[in-house]
Structures are given as structure tokens and as C-alpha cells.
């Protein structure tokens, strides 16, 4: 028996998926904030990831999909916050190692 999933159910799956993938960055952000260190995080990986999310956001804007836009704006803000903290803490540790 084939079960068709359509209408609001499809949108619900999309919303739950967006909450999971977007929310997954919150623990990482909190970890970096609490440990005051982001040495383990790859700068290049996060840079390309942020670029990819920015392109998803542009895609959402161009096709006029509000759920794609909203999910990617939140993800981009979280990813950029982690990147900013990495820059802050890496600068600090570099400065203290030079003293």
C-alpha cells in the first residue's frame, strides 16, 4: 500500500527538520562560550558552511520560500556567532602565547 504525504504534513516535516538542523548549533555555541575556547573548531569548515547557508538563504529568497529563508537566517546567525567567538578566543590565546 502506498501512502501519500501531502499538504500540511509535508510542511510539518520541513519545519521539524529545520528545527533539528538549525537547533543543532546551539549546543556547539554554548560549548564554545562556556569553555572560552574554539581551538577544536575548523575555521575553514565553518567558513564554507556559512557560505553554503548564505547561498541556501539566497535560494530561499529567489524562490520565495519563507520557511527556507527563516531556517537559514537563524542557522547563519548561529554559525557566524561561533565563527566570531572563534576569532575572539583565537586572538586572545595568540596574544597570551606571545607574552
Amino acid at each position: 500500500m502506498i501512502v501519500f504525504i501531502a499538504g500540511w504534513r509535508t510542511e510539518t516535516i520541513g519545519v521539524v527538520a529545520a528545527i533539528c538542523t538549525t537547533g543543532s548549533f546551539v549546543p556547539q555555541l554554548l560549548r564554545v562560550w562556556r569553555r572560552k575556547s574554539a581551538e577544536d573548531i575548523s575555521l575553514l569548515m565553518f567558513l564554507f558552511f556559512s557560505l553554503g547557508v548564505a547561498l541556501w538563504l539566497i535560494y530561499g529568497l529567489l524562490i520565495g520560500s519563507f520557511s527556507v529563508i527563516a531556517a537559514n537566517i537563524v542557522t547563519l546567525v548561529l554559525a557566524l556567532a561561533i565563527l566570531a567567538l572563534k576569532i575572539v578566543y583565537d586572538r586572545r590565546s595568540l596574544a597570551s602565547s606571545r607574552k
Binding site: I58, F66, I87, V88
Partner: protein, 280 residues
């Protein structure tokens, strides 16, 4: 008997006023106040952009017309930082390049965004910009606390590859400038602080170079796209300049804290209005 007579009398009174096109004077008034706000605290777009929507322009036309109307005012501010730009010419050129790429991309995406989608985004964009303004003061103090002055740092901090990282980050913010732009100046200042800049006039010079380039390329693209309503644009441009010039002369006597609070209040009010209008 009396009420219909009063209604008829009022109707006669109103009819000459009805024949006047109030859109242009209304926009010029909003641009005058917006230009004054821009000169003393920023956030003039919170008034001019909604005013352009209120006179019946489409959301993308309103944004494009607003960007073009505000641009000459930004261009003139480069003159004030010319010496600082010359001192850091190499970095200024890199950031101008980032402004060009980011601003062009933002403008192209705006021109290709469906009008209905952009209209739904308007309250969110106004809300984000108002929040940027609201948190700019505390965030600046926090950044200063994170990076206490350690001596003369004239270039992006000690991180390896910091230059290209700064250029990419600037291009991302300039994308937002080309797309909407309100509050982006503070984002650029925060970014430069993050990369170890401490001299405020140097930071402002780099900010002005990248924002002017991003808005400049966006203006050219908007002009060629046919989305700019030129008679409204020119009227707003002139009155905005008058407002800016007048306000700049008295800016020393104004309370900055009160002005910033006023800008945040206007921004949040406009966001609330557009949430009500677009989502009811």
C-alpha cells in the same frame, strides 16, 4: 436635516484638498526628517522607506528608490576620511572590492526576489535593523571590554589569514547592504573591532569605503533595472541633503542617547506596523 448639510459642507471643504497630490510633499517631509536623523544618529531609512511604501511604490521599487536617494549623502562623507583612506590604501581597496562584490550580489538578489516575498520580509528586516541599533551601544562596550587597548594595532589582528577572512566577512555584510542595508554601519564597525582595529577614525574610514562602494554598485544596478521612481527619488535626495546639512550644524547640541532611543522607537514602531499590515 442638519447632519447631511454639515456633511455636504465638509465635502465642499475637502474637495480642493482632495485634488492635491499629497504624495510628494509627504515624501519630502519624511526625507527631510530622515536626512536629519541620518546625520545625527543614523536610521533615516526607518522613515524614508516606509514613506515610499505609503505613497504606493512597490516594496522593491521603494527599497531601490530609497537606496539611490540616500547614496549622495554617503558619498560626500568619504571626503571627511580621505586622509585616513590614503594612509590605509591597500586595505581600503580590498574592502572596496568586498563592498563591490557583496553589494552587487545583494542588489541582484533583491531585484530577483518576488515582491510578495520581500513585502513579507519587510517587518522582519525593520525589526532586525531596530535591534541592531538597540544593541549597538552595549555591544560596542562589550567589544571594548573584550579587547582592551594593547598598543597600536593598525591592521587585522594577529590571526593567520586574517586579511582575507575580514574581506569575506565584509562582503557578507555588504550583501545585506545591497539587499536592505539599515543598521549595517554598526555591523561593519563591530566586525572591524573583532579583527583588532582600535582607532575609531580608521574604522569609520574603512566602513565608509565599503558601504559607499556597496551602495554605489547597488544604485547603478537599480538605476538600470528601471525600479527607481526618479521624480520621487530626486525629491527625496534633495530634501534628505537639506535635512542632513541642517542637522549636522546642530548635532553637537543634541543628546545622542535620546536620539538613538528615538531611532530604535521609530524602527520598532514601523516593524510593528508592518507586522500588523502584512500578517493580519
Amino acid at each position: 436635516m442638519l447632519l447631511p448639510a454639515i456633511a455636504e459642507f465638509l465635502g465642499h471643504l475637502a474637495s480642493p484638498l482632495d485634488s492635491i497630490d499629497w504624495r510628494l510633499p509627504w515624501l519630502m517631509f519624511a526625507a527631510l526628517i530622515g536626512g536629519a536623523l541620518n546625520a545625527v544618529a543614523g536610521g533615516g531609512s526607518f522613515l524614508v522607506f516606509p514613506a515610499m511604501l505609503s505613497i504606493g511604490l512597490g516594496p522593491i521599487q521603494a527599497n531601490a528608490t530609497n537606496t539611490v536617494a540616500m547614496w549622495p549623502g554617503q558619498l560626500t562623507s568619504i571626503a571627511g576620511y580621505l586622509a585616513e583612506v590614503k594612509r590605509n590604501l591597500r586595505l581600503a581597496l580590498r574592502l572596496a572590492g568586498a563592498g563591490f562584490v557583496g553589494g552587487a550580489a545583494g542588489a541582484i538578489v533583491l531585484l530577483n526576489t518576488p515582491a510578495a516575498t520581500f513585502l513579507k520580509l519587510v517587518p522582519w528586516l525593520l525589526l532586525i535593523a531596530a535591534l541592531i541599533f538597540a544593541f549597538s551601544g552595549p555591544a560596542t562596550r562589550r567589544l571594548k571590554a573584550l579587547f582592551p587597548p594593547t598598543g597600536p594595532v593598525r591592521a587585522p589582528g594577529a590571526l593567520p589569514n586574517a586579511h582575507w577572512l575580514l574581506v569575506i566577512s565584509t562582503a557578507i555584510i555588504c550583501f545585506y547592504i545591497g539587499y536592505f542595508g539599515a543598521g549595517a554601519g554598526f555591523l561593519l564597525i563591530s566586525l572591524l573591532s573583532l579583527f583588532g582595529f582600535e582607532d575609531l577614525s580608521q574604522m569609520n574610514a574603512m566602513k565608509v569605503v565599503s558601504t559607499t562602494m556597496a551602495n554605489g554598485v547597488a544604485c547603478i544596478l537599480f538605476a538600470f533595472s528601471g525600479k527607481v521612481e526618479w521624480h520621487f527619488c530626486l525629491a527625496a535626495m534633495v530634501t534628505c541633503a537639506i535635512g542632513g546639512y541642517t542637522a549636522a550644524r546642530v548635532s553637537q547640541r543634541l543628546n545622542q542617547k535620546f536620539l538613538r532611543a528615538l531611532v530604535v522607537f521609530i524602527g520598532l514602531g514601523m516593524a510593528a506596523y508592518f507586522f500588523w499590515r502584512n500578517y493580519r
